[in-house]
């Protein structure tokens, strides 16, 4: 065996397991879902092998714009909120001394490593009628009746922001940490004040982190399932809940598949455009 063929054999050996696995258990299932979205539903759930466009017609008929629109809107709101909270936080951490920086980063990462269900459940304790927030407000005589905070879009939004804030902070921190602060000196030597320096010099150079963080928040938020399920109840459904509902309760697998494909498309658009743009800026 020549060196080259042995190298090629090694390469194939390394590539094969993971690639085969992902094709069989990731790509193939998604293709089957795509296929199912064009079929008719079966009597006891599952599918009947009859081709139809009715699932997509139903999807775009307007009945579900509420849920789909709410998902995109909540995800967008969450992204903006995480940006507004996360940017100053990332700036704060990046401008501390190295020893503090690592400790503070750790403090941001720890919630990220804990169970998402548990973190979301904490908000039930806070927001329910006999919960901490209501009890506190009542004992301070700010309100007399408990506020209805749980199972509202507000609760879902808070849960999403809480869950995904670390995803925003980390890329922002990465971007800010790389910033060359001598540029600030240069700008100020040229006469700019702090605010001007921030808007015209600092902010534009952290765009990379902003975009990365936004995608890392928006994508899981739009497909969120746990948060709206636990904090939203049946009144605040998002696409993820609707999909689960179709598969388990309504037993309309083809329609659920169509929803799933729609979610995939909604998610792929920002991600693919990010890659296209970042490829361009790199070359």
């Amino acid at each position: 065996m020549t060196v080259k063929t042995r190298q090629q054999a090694n390469l194939l050996l390394l590539l094969f397991p993971a690639t085969a696995w992902l094709i069989v258990f990731f790509i193939l299932p998604v293709i089957i879902v795509l296929l199912y979205s064009f079929l008719e539903r079966g009597t006891y759930g599952g599918v009947t092998w009859i081709f139809t466009l009715s699932n997509y017609q139903r999807l775009f008929s307007g009945l579900f714009w509420g849920v789909i629109g709410r998902s995109i809107w909540l995800a967008f709101l969450t992204t903006v909120a995480c940006l507004l909270v996360g940017y100053p936080l990332a700036f704060f951490i990046a401008t501390r001394s190295p020893r503090w920086r690592n400790a503070l980063l750790l403090l941001v990462i720890i919630p990220f490593w804990t169970n998402f269900l548990v973190r979301t459940y904490a908000w039930i304790i806070l927001l329910r009628s006999e919960g901490v927030v209501n009890t506190a407000l009542q004992s301070l005589h700010i309100i007399t009746e408990p506020l209805n905070l749980l199972f509202t879009p507000f609760a879902v939004a808070i849960g999403l922001i809480y869950g995904y804030l670390p995803f925003m902070v980390l890329p922002l921190y990465s971007s800010i940490e790389r910033f060359n602060f001598s540029l600030v000196e240069a700008a100020q030597d040229l006469g700019a004040n702090d605010i001007r320096t921030f808007w015209r010099v600092f902010l534009p150079l952290t765009t990379r982190g902003i975009v990365a963080g936004s995608i890392l928040v928006f994508v899981p938020a739009v497909g969120a399932f746990i948060t709206p399920d636990i904090l939203g109840g049946s009144k605040t459904m998002m696409v993820g809940n609707l999909i689960q509902n179709q598969f388990f309760k309504a037993r309309d697998w083809p329609f659920g598949s169509a929803l799933s494909m729609l979610l995939t498309v909604i998610v792929l658009i920002p991600v693919l455009s990010y890659f296209r743009v970042s490829d361009k800026t790199q070359s």
Binding site: F92, I93, V118, A122, I125, T135, F247, T264, V267
Partner: protein, 284 residues
Amino acid sequence: MTKLDLRVRAIGNKWLWIQATLAFAFLYLPILILIIYSFNTSKFNAVWRGFTLDWYRSLFSDAGTLGIVSSSSAGIWTALNNSLLIAVISTLLATIFGTAIALALERFHFPGRKTVETLVFLPIIMPEITIGISLLVFFTLIFRIVENLTGIHLNLGLPTVIIGHVTFNISFVTITVRARLAELDPILEQAAFDLGANEWRTFWRITLPLIWPGIFSGALLAFTLSLDDFVVTFFTTGVGSMTLPLFVYGMIKFAVTPAINAISTLMLLASLLLVVSSLRVKKS
């Protein structure tokens, strides 16, 4: 700098501190309240009625079923066992596959490299529910075909959950190991080749020890993600494969008691331990 600029800077600094404190409070208060109320005697109220360990004790009685009547009668300890089993097996497989792919992508140039890269990257960006649903659809179809062809009736259960976990964990391991590989200077491996070692020898004696922290980090990440996973597990699980997150979910939806706080606190402690150990590894 003008006086105005100095004022702006001082105010800006003050607000920065305030904002950071509020942000950290936002991140940690819910968790702290969760932990504190796991010791509260009162079942529902937010009012503190007294310190108790009863909720923790209830985890150990009735085989940990915590009063939930379910078809599988699985208690919390069965769920934890399943979670650990799934995590160990899926981490093992994902780490082997992920490390292999990371080596292929970092050390070789071949046509289709970009495609493989994208393939490995996709499971991370796809929403978990899409992965879960597609696996559910996939497995039920396969099971129906197998039953039609051989009469063997397969069901969703531990193996399907494990397959699901491996599927999304490969990507995380790959990214972690690749990051570590990229830091390595290929000159070390080059030197080994020049000295006459073949690929396997070089790999075992040079590359592997050097990337070991990356492999370990990746494995730890995969292990944590597997233990914590809910969505993919939810759609690929069957009777008899209750996992810890599924159990907690059941309690949250159907039997809310501070026992959930107790379980949560223990889970938080476990996560903290994992974070600390992953940092220890990174330091070495």
